[in-house]
Amino acid sequence: MTTAEHGHHDYYIPDASPWPIIAMLSVFLLLCGTALAINDVGFGIWLVVIGLIMLSVMFFGWFGDVVKENLTDCYNAQVDRSFRQGMLWFIASEVFFFISFFGALFYIRNIALPWLGGVGYLGATNELLYNQFTAQWPSAGPDNVGGGFTPMGAWGIPAMNTLILLTSGATVTWAHWGLKINSHRQLVAGLGATIALGLLFVILQAWEYSHAYHELNLTLNSGVYGSTFYMLTGFHGFHVTMGAIMLMAIMVRAMKGHFSPHNHFAFEAVAWYWHFVDVVWLGLFVFVYWL
């Protein structure tokens, strides 16, 4: 290609690609299927399955194309910057998704529950509807929805999980250092350790859920405490799982030698994502488990 005389020409504009439209079809099937399935319409689940399969194929195909283009030197520094900035703004949007759930938690603890308990200018609710209710946290509300439960303590598994995630943040940074000094072994070992810690986190979290369900009677239906507890930790756990899968993909690519000290956007993107998940957990640990 004759690019020398053009200023901008080296910004890679990909050729027509089938992946976006496949992505659209797969999320469409996935969501329509879910809407049907949760309303007990039998074939909904099949749409979900097809949607998920298409979605995985799409991710392989799309990212596969990106990897191919990267390996054939299609991307210059400007394209690399676009990817980086894009990832940062994507993470920013994720932050605000979590903010909605943290916001709900703060609102319920500091505003809604005290009202129900009779404090302030809306205290009449308490007088008229929920006379015996005293506001406290944790709470399953005036009707004790879901029955009595024991809240999750902070210093058992959650504290351990905090250590695990913090360590994994360190190992992924160690892997990055390895990459920067071109030490293949340190890179792969660091990634491997991070993945192992991530999986350990997920397993412990699952174990904690099972403990909560079976021994503490703390379920998704345990009033607002159960709601906020499971939604916040659940979405976080989902993100950790996604992050671990992304790390695995990165590790495969690292073993294939795709990354060099100067060209490893994908690695960094996943590392940022991992740190983001880490920081969310710290918020969870403080506001969901501890305080």
């Binding site: 290609m1 053009h6 200023g7 901008h8 020409h9 910004y11 890679y12 504009i13 990909p14 050729d15 027509a16 089938p18 976006p20 659209m24 999320v27 469409f28 969501l31 329509c32 809407a35 309303n39 319409v41 799309w62 030197d73 299609c74 400007q78 676009s82 990817f83 894009g86 994507f90 949007s93 994720e94 605000f96 998704f97 903010i99 909605s100 759930f101 916001g103 709900a104 609102y107 319920i108 505003i111 809604a112 009202w115 200018y121 709470s139 399953a140 509300g141 005036p142 009707d143 929805v145 879901g146 998704l220 239906n221 009033g223 607002v224 405490y225 159960g226 709601s227 499971y230 939604m231």
Partner: protein, 532 residues
């Protein structure tokens, strides 16, 4: 890129667009994607318009004529969601796609494949939105959506399966907006022609930068809110259930934390269009570039912390309502500043009134009127009377139609010659303008009186004392609605032919987009322009 052999995929740069459906379904071209956004928005405009005309037909007389109450409520909900998410936002995104790369001298959007994804999610979302409308008519489909676009619980917890389709449609719309916003921000930050700094960008580009920030910050919160709704509906959580310690009002906060910034998302791109149009037809440079940028940034920050002015009647503490009232009134200062900048741009200009400029002037007049009723609504004790009345409906149609929709029309007329290479029919366009604007005022002006006299919004029937104004409003709505057929005709006619447009199109036009031929080549700035 070093050699040709390594990048076979890129050799299309020497040819034209891909052939057949591939060009559209798999596009990575900002102009084609922009065109698809605009066509999609036009289709949605007609769908949303049809539902609005049905609503107004029903309200022509008191009593029930055409519709059942449930269907009426369903239409009201659907109308708002289609217009906001299906018509205005995609049309503005279409303008962004077409114009931002041209205006900043970029070869395309920064992430072209993701750009196509942002667009193609929309038809899927729109299909789910329409499904949420029609599902109740099938056996086992459950009840119709009767909540209005605000989806407040507990009502939204009681609706049948269609609410789930709607929730997922909102998720999809949110994903589309966030991806498009990421793309726009990255394009603006990373793809400007060498030498163009941020304070040299056209205001249109600035408005979209601010809009994209707002979308990234608030859309995920809406997604979170409707996710909680979904879990309350199906999985036994208690976010909005007081018996379990939750609070239905929590949803209102989450919704309006999104909803109020959303109104700026809707108007800012159109205000950016005005910043292009007014200097062109006043043949004067834009007045107060820096203060326009400053105003927008102020709007972005203040706009995110005044949401509860939609909730004055829920029973907040005096301190809270006072804060939200003062914040809301303060935000009209930067909004007003933008309007004054445009007026000052026209001051002593040598103006001509081609259709885009006619729209621009009309927008300034009518939007300002809507802003004034907004300030009435911002005053807590007054709003206690106006809330949920037709006065609110009049207010937001006065800000939204001129502020957002007419701005988009103006932009379409302004840039259509650039896009198609043909001039539109100025005479027909002016006829369209007058019918449209008169129809609009006829429809919505009487609603102020109706609201002040006490007619509630979102109710299918009304007291006979409201009949006359409702009749005027309904007649206006038919004129207004049908006038868009003329718009469609003008657009189709322009696409198919017309007086060839020059590169500059308008005598007074300035900016990089006018340096390229009309229509621009398939790949925009393959050579980065020189910025002086």
């Amino acid at each position: 890129m070093s050699t040709a052999t390594l990048a076979p995929a890129n050799d299309h740069e020497h040819h034209g667009p891909p052939r057949g459906m591939r060009r559209w379904l798999m596009s990575t071209n900002h102009k084609d994607i922009g065109t698809m956004y605009l066509i999609f928005a036009l289709v949605m405009l007609f769908l949303g318009g049809a539902s609005a005309m049905l609503i107004r037909a029903e309200l022509f007389m008191p009593g029930l004529q055409l519709l059942e109450p449930d269907l009426y409520n369903n239409l009201v909900t659907n109308h708002a969601l289609i217009m906001i998410f299906g018509a205005v936002m995609p049309a503005a995104a279409g303008l962004a796609n077409w114009m931002i790369p041209l205006m900043i001298g970029a070869p395309d959007m920064a992430l072209p494949r993701m750009n196509n994804l942002s667009f193609w999610i929309l038809p899927a979302a729109a299909t789910m939105l329409m499904l949420s409308f029609v599902v109740p008519f099938f056996p086992g489909g459950g009840s119709q959506i009767n909540t209005g676009w605000t989806l407040y619980p507990p009502l939204s917890l009681q609706v049948g399966m269609s609410m789930d389709f709607l929730i997922f449609a909102i998720h999809l719309l949110g994903i589309s907006s966030v991806l498009a916003s990421i793309n726009i921000i990255v394009t603006i930050f990373n793809m400007r022609a060498p030498g163009m700094n941020l304070m040299q960008m056209p205001i249109f580009v600035w408005t979209w930068l601010v809009t994209a920030f707002l979308l990234i910050l608030v859309v995920p919160v809406l997604a979170g809110g409707v996710t909680m709704l979904l879990f309350d509906r199906h999985f036994g959580t208690s976010f909005f259930n007081a018996a379990g310690g939750g609070d239905p009002v929590l949803f209102q906060h989450l919704f309006w934390f999104f909803g109020h910034p959303e109104v700026y998302v809707l108007i800012l791109p159109s205000f950016g269009v005005l910043a292009s149009i007014i200097p062109t037809f006043a043949r004067k440079p834009l007045f107060g570039y820096k203060s326009l940028v400053g105003s927008m940034i102020a709007i972005m920050f203040i706009g995110m912390v005044v949401w509860a002015h939609h909730q004055y009647t829920i029973g907040m503490s005096l301190a809270a309502v006072s804060y939200f009232m003062i914040g809301t009134i303060i935000i009209s200062i930067p909004v007003g500043l933008m309007v004054f900048n445009y007026i000052a741009t026209m001051w002593r200009g040598s103006m001509t009134f081609e259709t885009p400029m006619l729209f621009a002037v009309a927008i300034l007049l009518m939007f300002s009127f809507g802003g004034l009723t907004g300030i009435m609504l911002a005053v807590v004790p007054a709003d206690m009377q106006y809330h949920d009345s037709m006065f609110v409906v009049a207010h937001f149609h006065y800000v939204l139609l001129p502020g957002a929709v007419f701005g988009l029309f103006a932009g379409v007329f302004y840039w259509l010659p650039k896009w198609t290479g043909n001039m539109y029919d100025e005479r027909l366009a002016k006829i369209f303008f007058w019918i449209n604007v008169i129809g609009f005022n006829l429809t919505f002006f009487p609603q102020h009186f109706l609201g002040l006299a006490g007619m509630p919004r979102r109710i299918i029937d009304y007291n006979i004392m409201f009949t006359e104004f409702n009749m005027v409003s309904s007649v206006g709505a038919m004129i207004f609605g049908l006038s868009h057929l003329l718009l469609l005709y003008i657009i189709i006619k322009t696409i198919r032919g017309g007086k060839p447009a020059s590169a500059r199109v308008w005598e007074g036009a300035n900016g990089l987009e006018w340096e390229l031929p009309s229509p621009p080549p398939f790949h925009s700035w393959t050579t980065a322009p020189q910025i002086k």
